[in-house]
Subunit: 359 residues, 4 copies
């Protein structure tokens, strides 16, 4: 079954494994006439790739994207855009010890059972490395959205129990990028960084929450049923590695509110219809209402830890798993550009779909 395709109008086929020769994506449905070069995509990959700060994995990958098709003279032609990112850190390590082990809370067991075979090296297809294809494709979507004034910003809102409280409208990309944690508040960022470093020192890992916020989204994106805008976003977010939850607007906390407090009253604002509050998170009835789109994604603590763990091998024998080397003790700093990319892919697809709503 085709489970690797994302989007109906702006479609992306993602392919690749952690330690194969390359990862990539094919974008089918990008309109012709978009100025596009490697320089539009590489910065997004640079934000995603490992080894950028002392907080994250030190795997050496330059993640240099190649555009193999779909443009001529730096302009899209309306034909599929094939994006390829060579794996440089390829099959260099010996993974034979992992072949016979099921790592806890990894995909080893489920892949082995489903397919009868799995690519052990680096987790194969279940590695977060495969998000590189999405990030590359997302950069193209971002470019289309930027041309239409739509601005997506994601940041780290929580690490463990350290939670940021901030005026969302005020957050900028520069604030996000000013710390290795990608938390836009300097003070809280420092606390988060300490938490992550301390976690690593203990051979442990910790979870976190990424907030995503979209400004200047037009009214009308999303289909009423079944392809609601929040439903498409929820699917995209839950397809990111290690994510465990999605909430939009008031989310899980909102269940305690009363209707009169929760309802977003319509008001005028400089000739535009807006709502006084935004508990809806920018969507009503599956369709964007012109208010900022506001959602959060929960990420579990990284499954790979340095502490020894009990597990089973393929023969069902108990074994002790001992991982060496450096791993991300907390995925949320690196998840930020992935959340943005997946969001851009969903929004761009719905943005184009919406052009066909009326006669």
């Amino acid at each position: 079954m085709s489970g690797s395709l994302m989007g109906k109008v702006f479609s992306v086929m993602n392919w690749g494994e952690s330690h194969g020769s390359a990862v990539g994506a094919v974008v089918d449905g990008c309109p012709a006439g978009l100025s596009l070069s490697v320089a539009d995509i590489q910065p997004a990959l640079d934000r995603r790739r490992p080894g950028q700060s002392h907080l994250v994995t030190q795997r050496k990958e330059l993640d240099r994207v190649q555009i193999l098709s779909g443009t001529v003279g730096g302009v899209t032609t309306g034909t599929p855009i094939s994006l390829l990112i060579p794996n440089e850190d390829q099959r260099s390590k010996d993974y034979s010890n992992l072949e016979s082990l099921y790592r806890p809370s990894h995909a080893d067991f489920t892949y082995q059972q489903k397919y009868g075979i799995r690519d052990v090296a680096g987790g194969g297809r279940s590695s977060a490395r495969v998000t590189a294809g999405w990030v590359a494709a997302g950069a193209i979507a971002q470019k289309i959205l930027h041309l239409n004034g739509i601005q997506i910003t994601a940041w780290v809102e929580q690490v463990g129990d350290i939670r940021l409280s901030i005026e969302k409208d005020s957050v900028t990309l520069a604030m996000v990028e000013s710390s290795a944690t990608r938390c836009p508040d300097t003070q809280v960022a420092l606390l988060m960084e300490q938490k992550i470093l301390q976690t690593r020192k203990q051979g442990e890992s910790i979870g976190g929450i990424v907030r995503c916020y979209i400004k200047h989204l037009p009214v009308g994106l999303g289909q009423p049923i079944y392809d609601k805008l929040e439903a498409e976003l929820a699917k995209a977010m839950l397809s990111i590695n290690a994510s465990k939850g999605f909430e939009i607007g008031s989310g899980f906390e909102g269940v305690k509110m009363t209707g009169s407090a929760h309802n977003d009253i319509f008001i005028h604002n400089n000739g535009r219809i807006e709502t006084q509050t935004n508990y809806s998170g920018g969507i009503q009835g599956g369709i964007s209402n012109g208010m900022p789109l506001d959602f959060a994604v929960a990420f579990k603590p990284t499954a790979t830890i340095l502490k020894p763990q009990k597990t089973l091998d393929l023969n069902g024998q108990e074994q002790t798993l001992q991982v060496h080397g450096r791993h991300d003790p907390c995925v949320v700093p690196r998840a930020v550009p992935i959340v943005e990319a997946m969001t851009a892919l969903v929004i761009c697809d719905q943005f184009l779909q919406n052009k066909l709503s009326k006669l």
Copy 2:
């Protein structure tokens, strides 16, 4: 664009509006040879329809399903199954006062802006009435899952700030159906009921959380990327009216845990490989691992309240909205069978897809 189709192998096209002549769904991809009659579907619709208890809307709808195609002699033939549910409470009321008003936190504004036209009566396509088509289709999916021993149970876990704590494995359909709230614990159910009645008396509404739990799910359902099992479930849940969040396994709370506490250690249990804990919620790497599937869905307080509210009309003039009659002050009791149906549709689709994983 086609946004009303759900599923790739077991596909459902949902159609209809609140006050049109009927609502319905077409199921394309149900395998041949399934014994199927109205008696398999009607009970699910009876659980969903309004007017069943003193807690919910009293709209009079018998919701009598008709099977218009796809079976012969009470057995499916492999061709599309067309399901139709007449609207009996059709266009009886005068909705002209709503034509010019945008109800807060309803879909009036977004539909009007997206399409330039909307079906005012009963909310048209944005009404929860359209879930009847899904519930009917879901009953067919349920039958296939039952034949394979898979058991889906949903219940009300929270209403406002009243939260149930229960051993999930112990919950049965009978326990869920023993109270109007659909909370399986008698004591907590009583508190929830009081909360809902008190909320209604105040002309208000309140939110809640539905828990869904799947037992005896085989290993291997779900696609690694992009159609992960949890991603498909998240989409389906966020496409239900009034839902604002989805979490699986440890969810949003799990972000505070450390990796060693969160990782689900593999163990033997009567010759089967299981995990000691289930923070993963039954899915690893997008694929079911044979443990119970365990997720929650947050629902906002009902947007329709009896308290007067300020709003704008189509001309941008401020107006006061005053709703009369009886409405559901809390959607979660009625959301339970809808969550089950949507879950069944996702699981059945992935169950069939999984037959093609290996040569």
Copy 3:
């Protein structure tokens, strides 16, 4: 698997069997704002339904279409349009004698083998009756195309060895409808009629060819690869019952031509770029070039004949099949509106898709 869905943007899910309670279709993706009532659809069904002339089946079906959803006040709302056509001539006959027989060149054997069960009455899903859903949906597509000046005309070009030669640009709907054969030339129509009547007298059937011609099609419809315009049309035509071939422009005869004779030279015509000849049939590289779209569909002789035939029963015993009653000795007169409807569905889908080609 979902095999009953046609179209990506303007999508149609077809459902129903010959002798079930109804047949129908759900149109998902029709833009909002289209004026639409039963009066727009019924004439197309009237052209398709049996019993209109002395040449065709006398089955009594009024084919009264109902629009169950998707419009309000006679205007489309952008939500799915559910179309239902009750079967009036329902299960009236005794089909038990056919249950155990495989009729030659019918779908009895293949359905039975594929599904292990089949709906015997009237051929079930394999009956041409199910094209009623497509014709109804096609009428909606036609309305959108008419608003854009696009004009589809199909006619009977050949019955047996009687072949029409005509200036295609001159053919009008009135000419087509002026004879029971739907051949636009009075003289040739008479010969065809005699041929059909004589064939019926002999208890026999005969094949034919339908020509379809589209005027005022804009440049740009179709996707380069894989969804080429001619490829989509070929699929749609080969999915019509009894069709055995499709050719566009020069078709099978064109293989004998040289390149210099076959190439369509570009010329000016009143400020427009056209081609001197139209061997391409209006499509180059999968995309419409603004010239008339010109293709033909071959239909085999009707499988149902009154002459006795040898066949096998379900037990593999030789039997003699003897059909009674009146059947269409030649399908092409009734195929004309079906070819037009399927063409309209393809063209409308591609017309909408094309709005997304450029930024």
Copy 4:
């Protein structure tokens, strides 16, 4: 819009242009456990690539395929298989003279109008070079079909007015490959070769017909409506460059037959149910009946000829087009492996789909 994706279960996303850095395809949905290496794919590409005989284009392309993902240790893992074929003869020529010209019966005009831009070099996306991705993917499909005993053979049946008559069951791959024309009869092959060489000498081109024949196809492949087996094949064939027609079984000639002559009578043959004749071409009601699948595809004379032709430039000025160098005067010899590949892709997709027909 996504128009480059082929297949629902065994899906192929094709990408690339004639003179870009590479062409390729991503196969999503290949079951795990298939032994697969470059050696399984390269021979198919070698049959397709230019420069193999004195009859065809001399472009120097080695067409060395790379498998970038989806296998481990030479076995498929169930994840997407990314296939890449570098373009070696890349942008070497000066195409600036073609930038301003619309070549007759090429896709220059339609691409330019649809997209406002086009890749001039070698025809860009409209080049037959992009079929390399399909041929590579088709080789994987072929391997699955071979494991199931299904055998696809295509050959040249007609060049210009030289037509082959042969017992189809007798044709083997060796016979097809024994001549540069890919006509399995030595005598007729010689006549065809002379015809092609003479055509080239005149600076001309000529069309032809490819026959495709599938043995040992199981009963049950194809969906009744809309994804009929012959409909899927027709679409695939009409999406091949230069094809103008498709017919199955009796095809266009069959329209002259009577029903009693055309109907395929069921008979016993060694315990199997077969039909006495095969005018149906192996499909009844959209579903394979176990008889050989038998269809033909018409190809127009190559649009590129060496004779000077009149045409228009982008400014609408009349120009004379004079092409130099060597080009295929007849595409059918090279179309044979492409027809086989596209057929394999359709059949493999339906073969897998059919596993889900019954409970």
